[in-house]
């Protein structure tokens, strides 16, 4: 045994000696470099119970506290959710949901009272949620023209064919084109009447005389009976980069009406894109509601940020405990595909909204690691020693 282990050494030595001593016949002699001889210096780790053990314990010890932290954080987040679809007879919006007809001219409104049993501090985020809405359907996802949305004038007049069948309407290019824009959920609460009427000759296109957008408004019912509208802001609900880079109006010209001359509004829209808001910084393609809608959700049940209720000051909670009323301008039809509509009020921590999953997962993985660490320790003690040291003693 001893001899054989030294042999290798000798051979090694031999190679290094004979290597550089190239003579006349050595043209074919391979170069004696570490790479070519496959003898590059290398670190040769192996995963044994001994080496992995500490790693498992460390992972366990790190993951479990992180998990607990996450779980606690998630639990401290306050979240309130109302389904206002109006499926039940008792629901205030039942009439609206039943009475929905594609060609009603008058928006249906319903009022949903609710009670917040705890005050919401800091900024409160208001989301609208949709269920069973396949925003991630392939033909839906691709049905948009990013060049048009980026303010490209050529694309404005010639939308990409990806937008079909929502690219042209009555030989006019649609701005913004595509199915995503066409099905936009939320718009600015502007109570105006229909501008124009459509006669529908496209079989598959349903012309709507009303804006599809639902509008949500929140009122605080003061104990003394007054109804105070909660101020909400719509800025900062879309990604900054989307608002400022990815989405741009065709020109910076304030007169958007002129810019969108020659285009037509999406068929399901009531108002053209340049009338989404009165604020020029939130109008046209850079309307934040529009941008939020254009970011297609990953899963069929999703929520999107609707409004932010900014905190007033640090002393008073943003939303006091008490009775509230949600006023919904009920426009958006979801019954046809058994969808649900929700309104969510949520506070936000550093880790986002309420989601116990991450915390639980961390705790689980951490505990599993710890447990495996213990198992491996036992194995290591029972069998690891048998392999090495025990036999040496013999």
């Amino acid at each position: 045994m001893m001899a054989s282990s030294y042999n290798a050494k000798d051979e090694d030595g031999h190679i290094t000696v004979s290597g550089p001593g190239g003579g006349t016949l050595r043209s074919k002699k391979p170069e004696n470099t570490a790479f070519k001889q496959q003898r590059l210096p290398a670190w040769q780790p192996i995963l044994t119970a001994g080496t992995v053990l500490p790693a498992f314990f460390i992972i366990g010890l790190i993951f479990i506290p992180i998990g607990i932290g996450l779980y606690v954080t998630s639990n401290n987040i306050k979240e309130f959710e109302i389904d206002y679809t109006g499926v039940d007879m008792s629901s205030p919006c039942f009439n609206c949901s039943q009475n929905f007809s594609w060609n009603s001219t008058r928006p249906c409104t319903c009022t949903i009272p609710f009670y917040l049993d705890q005050p919401y501090e800091n900024n409160v985020f208001m989301y609208y949620g949709l269920s069973n809405f396949y925003q991630n359907h392939r033909r839906y996802v691709k049905s948009r023209d990013d060049s048009q949305l980026n303010g490209d004038l050529e694309s404005l007049m010639k939308p990409s064919k990806e937008c079909e069948p929502y690219a042209y309407h009555e030989n006019k290019p649609i701005a913004p084109c595509g199915a995503i824009a066409n099905s936009m959920f939320n718009g600015e609460p502007v109570s105006c009447c229909a501008h124009q009427t459509h006669s529908s000759f496209h079989l598959y296109l349903i012309c709507l005389f009303t804006s599809l957008a639902d509008t949500l408004e929140l009122f605080y019912n003061d104990p003394n009976g007054t109804k105070i509208q909660i101020p909400m802001t719509a800025t900062g609900i879309a990604w900054w980069t989307d608002k400022h880079v990815k989405f741009r109006n065709p020109t910076d010209n304030a007169n958007l009406t002129a810019v969108f001359q020659g285009t037509t509004k999406p068929v399901n829209w009531r108002r053209p894109v340049y009338e989404l808001d009165t604020d020029p910084q939130n109008n046209g393609f850079i309307n934040e509601d529009f941008i939020v809608w254009m970011r297609t959700a990953a899963l069929p049940t999703f929520r999107k940020l609707y409004r932010i209720i900014p905190k007033k000051n640090s002393m008073v909670p943003t939303l006091l405990r008490g009775n509230y009323t949600l006023e919904v301008v009920y426009n958006y039809p979801v019954r046809s595909f058994e969808g649900r509509k929700r309104m969510i009020l949520s506070t936000i921590s550093w880790m986002g909204g309420k989601n116990p999953f991450l915390g639980i997962a961390y705790i689980t993985v951490g505990s599993v690691c710890f447990f495996l660490g213990v198992v491996l320790l036992i194995i290591h003690h029972k069998y690891g020693n048998r392999n090495n040291s025990a036999d040496i003693a013999n």
Binding site: D12, H137, N150, K246, A298, L299
Partner: protein, 1099 residues
């Protein structure tokens, strides 16, 4: 006058030929100098022959693109990708055609460029050859022509050191005797000068005018590729000694005239360059099996999704939500195709490229290996095909030649035995060599001096292999195709016998005139010469193997010689017997008649020659025997022992006689002291019937099979073997012979087959290859007689020996010495197998991880074929994010140190029987891939589930979802490889961390800019927004950990509870060198454990 006779002779012979010839088409008629046949001969059919253009190139400028495309798309994989690409072009697909078109285009282009470049090189070489000038005799003048314009029938003038432009029949040479010398180094690597003869009738024509006046016809066979066989006929028989082959070079002869008979692509050289049949490795076969499985998975995935899609749509609410348009049921097929396209990445194009690159680049390590370089020969290992690298790690049967492979083939003449008086003659005893005054003594040495085909080569430097030993003062070498002869002649020279007169064999010596040479062949196993002494006596000297001489001997001291020969054979010496036969002039006439009759034969000439030889070489008088020692090659025994320990069965296949071969086997430790030898030889079968012997042996073997670990060695000889193999005997149980024989062989650790003809060697290999277990065979040999088995075996290895380059040319790998086989198999083979199996498994694994989340996503996107990942990620995943680490792993991974592999051959057993690519392992990898995919997908799913995870309340969309999964995916598969890597050089660090960094940088860049040429900006800032969220980081870390956890645990637990030998060794190797004593203890234990685990297994 002479010409006249010639012409008449010619026409006569031609007509007789034609009458006798039955299948006219099989031969061609050539008119020397394109002269019309004399009027009156039969219907003159002008045959068309190709011109002398050599076309080794495959393509022309015009057909390159279509032909190359056709060839490339004939490969199933490429065709599959092409179909996918076309489907993407035709239907409304989920992913852009670029995602599969770009990689395919890349692969096809790279291959096309490589093949185009190779073909351009061939074109250049062809042009150089085709345009080189040749001298042609036309109308009595020598004209220069381009080589390609040469036609059959042209008379060509070739000068010294020029190579022949096509296959030629030598008409005359500048030498008076009508001979010329030729070296065929470029054909078979033999640098010896061979002598060729001019046609007798024309050898006097020395000027172009004279040559031009020849009217003659040559009839010869249609071209056939056998380099060493050709059958020709003019008015007088022509043989291979008249035929100058293209590619050979004229030497030592001023000029020759010759007529072209085979031109261009019909020359023997061109016919021989046609490619050999492709060998495919076991790994490739398993890879293809996996591919089929994955194809099934792919199709079933697509089917499931298509069906589910329509089930899902059956709900009226879902069929046509107003925000989306409807799909018809009619479009189900398109949907199926679209799903196929979406999931097609599960079979990646890049796997083929990576595997090919791994094989090609990996084979360089064999060539670069310093330890496989032989100082003496100045040669290093050669890789002729890189397709079989991993097969080197799977060898179960090694078939080795003896002479030149196990032994040095460096013969030394050490003993001669004349009439039973034996002289042991080491070189220092030369002078005291007793000259027993005997007529036989004289004749014996005369026979040795005359009966050979040795040539003397003077002064020149030999470019090829040196055949002779450098002689002190006169720098001359003896050159022969048989090393025994060199040894004998050198021995003679040392005895100061009359060798100086032997400068050129076939010359007319002072005392003897060489009349006929009955050349050596491996069936007869002897050669003879017929000489006439100066006194006019005629002798036939015959030299050959004892078994082929003794039956033909009628007198002489047979018994003594036989005893001596057998004694020598046991010592491991090569023996030759020498005999002679005085011939009377009448007998000589008869001999001449027989020979010329046989040589003239147009069909079955070999057979008829053999019959003639058989008749001539009889009634011999035994002179004596010689003994030549052929030393074992350095470390041959060690190598064989290692191969044994590695679980390989080593068979020696030799043409030598049993005793010699057995002695060599003992010396090389193939047989050991305790090996029980089973004999299956003619000697035994004479006593008992073959049937009984076989059953006897199998009973012996099977009896000891249980319990007793007796080592069996089998010796079988050629004759018995052919009896065993003979098919279709009348009695029904003969068919079982093969089975019984195989059964016996399976239980023998070593088998020696002696007295084998070359074809029998191949037969044996084939027999083993076809046996039930389909073991992987390796054949190793150095001579032309090993070519057949080298070609037959799964892996053929050539030794750069002394018997020419035939074996090397036909082999898959060539090594300078037998001892290099050890490193080739135990180290390189082992590594390549480990590497490529990981490569294959990992590739499938990483694509399961890649595609399975996409499959799951379909359940959440209404089966709409929405891709989870962005196009760039889909395209680049296999090309750049995850390709380099595995390629590098598959090139330089060393799971165990090289020295340990060499020291401990039993490690080779760990990978036997393709164990890393068996189904359980494959399923493990696939399950692991599916698990990882589920963890990644649902991890991201629950994170995204109806909530936000940014601190500003903003929401993420579907592309962030995909990017999160993809990020986890890239990191997980890379880390998985990192966990499998046991050999971390700086290159590994660079590539593994480098590709992760590349992924991050690419993602930042890809999302960082509004790309002007893209019509979508879906990835804009997606990656950065994701990274700006804390929970995204946390979940990436969590999911990677969770994905890797089971594999790590499995590894650790398996290593602790059921370690393989490899893993035990790894633990020991982990211990630093300073603890060598500890390590050696460890090794003992390992062996104990190994054996105990084997026992457990058997229980």
């Amino acid at each position: 006058m002479l010409q006249h006779t010639l012409n008449t002779l010619l026409s006569f012979s031609l007509s007789s030929q034609c009458v006798g010839e039955e299948n006219w088409v099989d031969s061609r008629t050539i008119y020397i100098g394109h002269k019309e046949p004399p009027p009156g001969t039969e219907a003159f059919i002008q045959q068309r022959f190709p011109d002398n253009r050599i076309v080794s190139s495959k393509y022309t400028f015009w057909n390159f693109i279509p032909k190359n495309m056709f060839e490339q798309f004939r490969r199933v994989a490429n065709f599959y990708f092409l179909i996918i690409f076309l489907v993407q072009l035709m239907i409304d697909t989920p992913t852009s055609p670029i995602t599969s078109g770009l990689p395919l285009f890349f692969v096809i282009t790279v291959t096309a460029i490589k093949q185009g470049y190779e073909d351009w090189l061939r074109h250049k070489a062809d042009n150089a050859v085709n345009q080189c000038p040749v001298h042609v005799v036309q109308h009595g003048k020598v004209v220069r022509k381009q080589s390609r314009k040469l036609r059959v029938g042209d008379v060509v003038l070739v000068k010294e050191d020029e190579s022949f432009p096509c296959d030629l029949i030598l008409l005359s040479s500048s030498r008076d005797d009508g001979t010329c010398y030729v070296t065929t180094a470029s054909l078979d690597g033999e640098s010896s000068h061979k002598t060729y003869y001019a046609v007798q009738d024309t050898k006097a024509y020395h000027t172009e005018q004279e040559v031009d006046s020849i009217h003659a016809t040559i009839e010869c066979e249609q071209p056939q590729p056998d380099l060493y066989k050709s059958l020709l006929s003019v008015f007088r028989p022509l043989g291979s000694e008249n035929l100058l082959l293209r590619g050979a070079t004229l030497k030592n002869t001023e000029y020759i005239y010759a007529v072209a008979i085979y031109t261009g692509m019909e020359t023997k050289m061109a016919l021989n360059y046609q490619s050999k049949s492709q060998k495919r490795s076991a790994v490739e076969k398993s890879m293809n099996a996996y591919l089929v499985v994955y194809l099934c998975i792919l199709i079933s995935k697509a089917l499931i999704n298509t069906v589910l899609k329509y089930v899902w749509q059956a709900d009226p609410n879902r069929d046509e939500p107003w925000y989306n348009e409807r799909t018809d049921l009619v479009r189900a097929f398109t949907d199926f195709l679209a799903f196929m396209v979406l999931f097609n990445y599960i079979i990646p194009v890049s796997m083929y490229v990576t595997v090919e690159m791994q094989k090609f680049l990996g084979s360089y390590f064999i060539m670069w290996d310093d330890e496989m370089f032989d100082e003496e020969l100045g040669e290093r290992a050669v890789v002729n095909t890189s397709d079989l690298n991993e097969e080197l790690g799977q060898v179960e049967y090694v078939f080795t030649d003896k002479t030149g492979t196990l032994t040095e083939n460096n013969m030394e003449f050490i003993e001669c035995c004349v009439d039973g008086h034996c002289d042991l003659v080491p070189s220092y005893l030369i002078d005291s060599c007793p000259r027993v005054s005997a007529e036989h003594e004289e004749l014996f040495f005369r026979a040795l001096c005359l009966c050979h085909t040795v040539q003397v080569k003077e002064e020149e430097t030999v470019d090829g292999i040196k055949h002779g030993i450098h002689q002190g003062k006169s720098t001359s070498f003896y050159i022969s195709s048989s090393p025994d002869e060199v040894a004998l002649v050198e021995g003679m020279k040392r005895w100061n016998f009359n060798v100086t007169a032997m400068l050129f064999v076939f010359c007319f010596l002072i005392r003897f005139e060489l009349l006929e040479v009955l050349t050596f062949d491996s069936v007869r196993r002897r050669m003879s010469v017929i000489v006439r002494s100066s006194t006019g006596e005629l002798y036939l000297f015959c030299k050959g193997a004892d078994s082929s001489i003794f039956p033909r001997v009628i007198s002489g001291k047979v018994d003594q010689v036989r005893a001596r020969v057998e004694h020598n054979a046991v010592e491991g010496l090569r023996t030759l017997c020498v005999a002679y036969r005085p011939l009377s002039p009448e007998q000589y006439q008869e001999v001449c008649h027989l020979l010329s009759g046989a040589k003239l034969a147009l069909q079955d000439r070999d057979k008829r020659l053999a019959e003639a030889y058989d008749l001539i070489e009889k009634d011999l008088i035994l002179l004596g025997a010689t003994a030549v020692e052929d030393r074992l090659q350095e470390k041959a025994a060690d190598t064989i022992e290692s191969l044994h320990k590695a679980g390989m069965k080593v068979w020696v296949l030799t043409g030598d006689k049993m005793e010699t071969a057995a002695a060599t086997c003992y010396a090389s430790k193939l047989f050991r002291r305790n090996t029980q030898i089973l004999e299956l030889t003619t000697k035994r079968t004479e006593e008992q019937s073959l049937h009984d012997v076989l059953f006897d042996l199998s009973r012996t073997v099977l009896r000891h099979l249980s319990g007793d670990c007796t080592d069996y060695g089998l010796i079988i000889d050629g004759a018995t073997l052919s009896a065993v193999m003979r098919p279709g005997q009348e009695d029904s149980n003969s068919g079982n012979y093969k089975e019984i024989f195989l059964e016996i062989c399976r239980n023998c650790s070593a088998v020696l087959c002696c007295r084998m003809a070359p074809l029998q060697k191949a037969q044996i290999v084939k027999l083993i290859k076809a046996s039930e277990e389909h073991p992987i065979t390796l054949a190793i040999g150095d001579g032309a007689n090993d070519v057949s088995m080298i070609l037959e075996a799964h892996v053929g290895i050539g030794i750069m020996g002394k018997e020419g380059r035939q074996a090397v040319r036909n082999s898959d790998y060539a090594i300078p010495k037998f001892k290099h086989l050890k490193k080739m198999l135990l180290v390189h083979g082992h590594y390549y197998y480990i590497r490529i199996s990981e490569l294959v498994q990992y590739f499938f694994y990483k694509n399961v991880c890649f595609i399975f989340p996409q499959f799951l996503y379909q359940f959440f996107c209404g089966f709409s074929q929405q891709p989870l990942y962005d196009t760039a990620y889909l395209t680049l995943y296999n090309i750049s994010f995850t390709s380099l680490p595995i390629l590098l792993y598959s090139l330089i991974e060393q799971h165990i140190n090289m020295d340990i592999l060499k020291k401990d051959p039993s490690l080779y057993r760990d990978i036997a029987k393709n164990c890393l690519l068996r189904w359980p392992i494959f399923i493990y990898w696939t399950v692991l891939g599916v698990y990882d995919a589920i963890v990644m997908f649902f991890g991201a799913y629950f994170l995204f589930d109806n909530t936000t995870f940014t601190s500003n309340g903003q929401m993420f969309g579907n592309w962030t979802f995909g990017t999160l999964v993809f990020t986890v995916l890239v990191f997980t598969v890379t880390f998985k490889l990192a966990l499998d890597t046991h050999y971390w050089t700086w290159i590994n660090h660079f590539v593994i961390w480098g590709s992760l960094i590349f992924f991050v940088v690419f993602s930042l860049l890809w999302g960082g800019i509004i790309w002007p040429f893209l019509n979508y900006q879906r990835m804009y800032y997606v990656f950065m927004q994701m990274l700006s969220s804390g929970p995204a980081w946390l979940s990436i870390i969590l999911l990677i950990t969770a994905s890797l956890l089971p594999d790590v645990v499995k590894k650790v637990i398996w290593r602790a509870l059921w370690p393989t030998t490899t893993e035990r060794i790894q633990v020991c190797a982990f211990i630093p060198y300073s603890l060598i004593k500890f390590a050696s203890f460890c090794r003992v234990n390992i062996n104990q454990h190994a054996s105990s685990s084997v026992l457990q297994m058997s229980n």
